[in-house]
């Protein structure tokens, strides 16, 4: 037998050889080969639906591959479930955390593999073990607080601690930075470097090319289930990776033309919202002018959701005012007008969650062409629906906004996420609102569709509309906005113009490090 320490230098922790996974009608993974060495961060990049998640689910035992083999430390294995994967030293942090709210950090970490003595949980030895792990990896977290009370960055740290507690040598991180601030991302990267130095292997899935270039040692690009290329990070740059991902050069920086701004179309004055005794919005004010994109930057959970509800009319503020200027009215207080009334006087709304809010996913596409606009005379006569008009509307949206669908009769959930989003964007724009709320307009959408949606939003700006852009993606905010407001604890604490905005500056305000 070879000494295991020296063997580790050469033998990969994980080897996937010729993995093929077929779903009915779709080749999710096509002859994919991938390896991960100890002490390596291997980035897996690709568009939505390229097959990254499927591949990782195969490695984690959630799917069974149709072809190919998996080797762990040189030995072929069959992984039939996550428990087996964990036993083989493979751990995964999902995009949506798997934490139990109401349980403490400690309880969350040990849950499922608690040390037991005499039929009860041995909290003391668990605590010792976790504290040792935290110290070794410089990952401090308070153990006795409710996991729910932690900021997202620390919750993610708890997820990683869970894996280390179970002795994971291979860590799979699925879009770990999607929910983090720039500062939290930096913290995460430090942690990853430490883990790497200890000889662990990390598979890092991401959309954010800057980060991939910054942290990874090797990069594998997947497109349509196939490995398009694998390269050491030294040979990679953003442009090259983006080209490999989509197969054609993509303008990630969409040109934003200068437009002469007009009067205030949407004004929020000192808006406060108290829910269950908690101030969700706290004297929030801003205004969006005609021909302007106003971006809201902030860490998730600082009042974005409530702000969107207040602007769309889904909830009314406890105090303060919302004013609208549109073709129909100007300077009108719309504070106490609901979503229906607001649409009628000219507010369009691309919702934060297309599946939950924007579409009735089990209903045909043509019905979805009228969601929010069902009251329009074109869609109903004396309380009777005109389905023909809805079909025509749907057909025109599909044609105008390049939505790929076999017909208008299929249910909305037959479309891919990007096409669903294009359909919603098209619907809202086609009714020609004066003010357009764009909430997370490209979340979970591939690069091609993202660029298309950016162009649509910019076109609206050129047409003199006022656009309120809320997004978790700082890059998106910076790429599109004329002015940027940073939301922190329910307040706009700082406004930037396009010229003065830098990611670092915005990040400091997002975290509340700086305040005006």
């Amino acid at each position: 037998m070879v000494n295991s320490d020296t063997a580790n230098e050469k033998i990969p922790l994980i080897e996937l050889k010729g993995i093929t996974k077929l779903f009915p009608g779709v080749v999710a993974n096509d002859d994919v080969t991938l390896s991960l060495f100890p002490g390596e961060i291997h980035a897996l990049v690709g568009e939505n639906g390229a097959g990254k998640t499927t591949l990782m689910k195969i490695l984690y035992g959630e799917y069974k591959p149709d072809k190919g083999e998996i080797l762990v430390k040189g030995k072929p294995v069959r992984i039939t479930g996550p428990a087996e994967a964990v036993a083989l030293g493979i751990g995964m942090v999902h995009q949506h955390f798997m934490l139990v709210p109401g349980l403490s950090v400690l309880e969350n970490i040990v849950l499922g593999s608690e040390p037991v003595s005499g039929g009860t949980v041995d909290a003391k030895s668990a605590r010792e073990k976790i504290e040792k792990i935290m110290q070794e990896n410089a990952m401090p977290v308070e153990l006795d607080v409710d996991v729910d009370s932690l900021p997202v960055g620390l919750q993610q740290r708890v997820e990683i601690l869970k894996l280390l507690y179970r002795g994971a040598e291979t860590l799979i991180l699925d879009e770990p930075t999607a929910v983090l601030t720039p500062q939290e991302t930096e913290e995460l990267f430090k942690t990853l470097e430490t883990l790497k130095a200890q000889g662990r292997g990390i598979i890092f899935i991401s959309h954010k090319l800057d980060e991939v270039v910054a942290i990874a040692d090797r990069i594998t690009v997947i497109r349509r289930g196939k490995v398009i290329g694998e390269m050491p990070v030294q040979e990679a740059n953003r442009q090259k990776i983006a080209e490999m991902m989509v197969g054609k050069p993509v303008l990630l920086q969409v040109p934003v033309p200068e437009v002469e701004v007009g009067e205030d179309l949407l004004v929020l004055k000192d808006v406060t919202l108290v829910e269950g005794g908690v101030k969700k919005l706290d004297g929030l004010s801003f205004h969006v002018r005609a021909g302007e994109i106003y971006g809201i930057a902030g860490v998730e959970g600082n009042g974005q959701e409530e702000l969107l509800q207040v602007v769309s009319g889904e909830i009314f503020p406890s105090s303060g005012d919302v004013l609208l200027c549109s073709v129909q009215v100007c300077g009108q207080r719309i504070t106490k007008i609901g979503p229906l009334g607001r649409r009628k006087i000219g507010i369009g709304h691309i919702p934060a969650d297309r599946q939950k809010q924007g579409l009735f996913v089990n209903m045909p596409l043509y019905v979805n062409a009228a969601v929010g606009w069902q009251w329009k005379d074109e869609f109903q006569h004396h309380g009777i629906i005109d389905y023909k008009a809805m079909r025509e509307k749907a057909a025109s949206i599909i044609q105008q906004f390049d939505v790929r669908t076999p017909s208008v009769d299929v249910p909305a959930n037959a479309l891919s996420g990007g096409n669903q989003q294009k359909f919603i964007v098209g619907r809202e724009i086609s009714f020609d609102p004066s003010v357009l709320i764009a909430a997370y307009p490209t979340r979970g959408v591939d690069v091609g569709a993202t660029e298309f949606i950016y162009r649509q939003i910019i076109d609206e700006k050129v047409r003199g509309k006022a656009i309120l852009l809320v997004s978790a993606d700082l890059e998106e905010i910076l790429a599109l906005s004329d002015r940027i407001g940073v939301i922190y604890r329910g307040k706009i604490i700082k406004e930037f113009s396009r010229e003065e905005a830098t990611p670092e500056q915005i990040g400091l305000y997002m975290l509340g490090v700086k305040e005006e």
């Binding site: 229906l340 669908t405 017909s407 009769d409």
Partner: protein, 380 residues
């Protein structure tokens, strides 16, 4: 060329819809197979059992009974279906029809009105009673967040007690008579009794050589059922209120996004459901027995639940599912009379049928979704 492609897409889409819609048929066939296995297990020959069912159910009288007795089942199915469409679980149809039937019986017995108006008033009284019994649970749900299942179950219990009290007290039609088992309201005035439709119906079915016997109820409640089914189909699939009801039923947060007033829509849905439920007992009260009694046929509300489920909440489907359940009841009697299979087996069979419909439904829907995804993939 484009037309050809479009046609192909459309024919494929029709095939998908057929696949999605076929689960009740598969469920029924599966349940029949299970029934035959059980019958064989009991020691009866399946062909005997089948023969008994067929000869008892598909005689002229059998068919007449099945159609006539499907009327209250269909109405109850419709009441449940509209609630389900709106995302409500109206388990209170039972109590609503009990109270509605009482109101109809009282309106028919105590009011003095000329005949067509009196009949209309009886119908409206039934609907009002059903709505009244649906009112409290839906108010509790909309304003206090009490789940409608809890509210309606409670109201079912209350209905039994209240009805018993009212018929014992103010609306007692047998005061002074000792026996409580024939407790009832006074007889309906002749002006309030539903007219028989034997002549009209038989003149039509007679063309095909089919006559409804006199002892089978062919009456105005048939018209009510037809109006309810067609009206509900129109409401759900053609009107904008119906679209809002379906939206709220399928996705409340998207409904909020679309500007639909959820509370108002839930309230309206429940009122429609309650009004229809109030009509379930009218055939019995206003035609068959001509009085209301607390011993009126029970359980139609729960049968209607199963009917709506089987019909996947489609009003037209409710007609077929209602006929099927009426047939099952008849088949149960047939088995009981001519074989050694107990009648209660039929109850188990309806249960198996509903379960298997739900399972087939899920399997087929998933399969169709995969097919659709694949198709979208090809087009892109």
């Amino acid at each position: 060329m484009i037309d050809e492609k479009k046609q192909k897409v459309n024919s494929r889409e029709r095939w998908y819809r057929l696949l999605e819609g076929i689960s009740p048929v598969l469920g029924f066939l599966f349940a029949m197979v299970v029934m035959m296995i059980v019958v064989w297990f009991i020691g009866e020959s399946p062909s005997n059992a089948l023969g008994a069912i067929i000869s008892f159910s598909f005689s002229q009288a059998g068919i007449a009974y099945i159609i006539s007795q499907s009327v209250p089942i269909i109405i109850s199915g419709a009441a449940n279906a509209v609630a389900f469409q709106g995302g409500l679980f109206n388990i209170g149809v039972e109590g609503q029809y009990l109270f509605g039937a009482l109101c109809a019986g009282v309106a028919g017995a105590y009011l003095n009105l000329p005949t067509p108006i009196h009949i209309l008033v009886v119908v409206l009284a039934g609907m009002a009673g059903g709505m009244l019994w649906a009112l409290i649970p839906i108010l509790l749900k909309v304003y206090k967040g009490v789940h409608e299942v809890i509210g309606t179950i409670m109201m079912n219990q209350i209905a039994s007690a209240v009805v018993l009290y009212l018929v014992n007290g103010p609306f007692n039609g047998v005061r002074g008579q000792a026996l409580s088992y024939n407790l009832r309201t006074p007889y309906l005035k002749p002006t309030a009794v539903f007219p028989s439709l034997h002549k009209i119906v038989n003149s039509i079915t007679g063309i095909f050589g089919f006559k409804f016997p006199n002892y089978v109820a062919v009456d105005f409640s048939w018209v009510i059922a037809i109006v309810v089914v067609i009206g509900l189909w129109f409401l759900i699939f053609k009107s904008s209120l119906g679209l809002r009801i379906r939206w709220v039923g399928q996705n409340p947060s998207a409904s909020v996004y679309a500007g639909v007033d959820i509370k108002k829509t839930l309230f309206t849905t429940m009122m429609i459901s309650g009004a229809i439920a109030g009509l379930v007992g009218l055939q019995e009260v206003a035609y068959i027995s001509k009085f209301f009694t607390p011993n009126i046929t029970k359980g139609l509300g729960f049968t209607g639940l199963a009917v709506a489920l089987l019909a996947r909440n489609n009003p037209i489907g409710v007609v077929f599912a209602g006929l099927l359940f009426s047939f099952l009841t008849r088949a149960g009697y047939g088995l009981q009379m001519y074989t050694k299979v107990p009648n209660s087996l039929i109850n188990a069979i309806s249960g198996i049928m509903i379960l298997s419909v739900v399972v087939f439904d899920q399997i087929l829907r998933r399969y169709v979704r995969t097919l659709r995804r694949k198709e979208v993939g090809q087009n892109v």
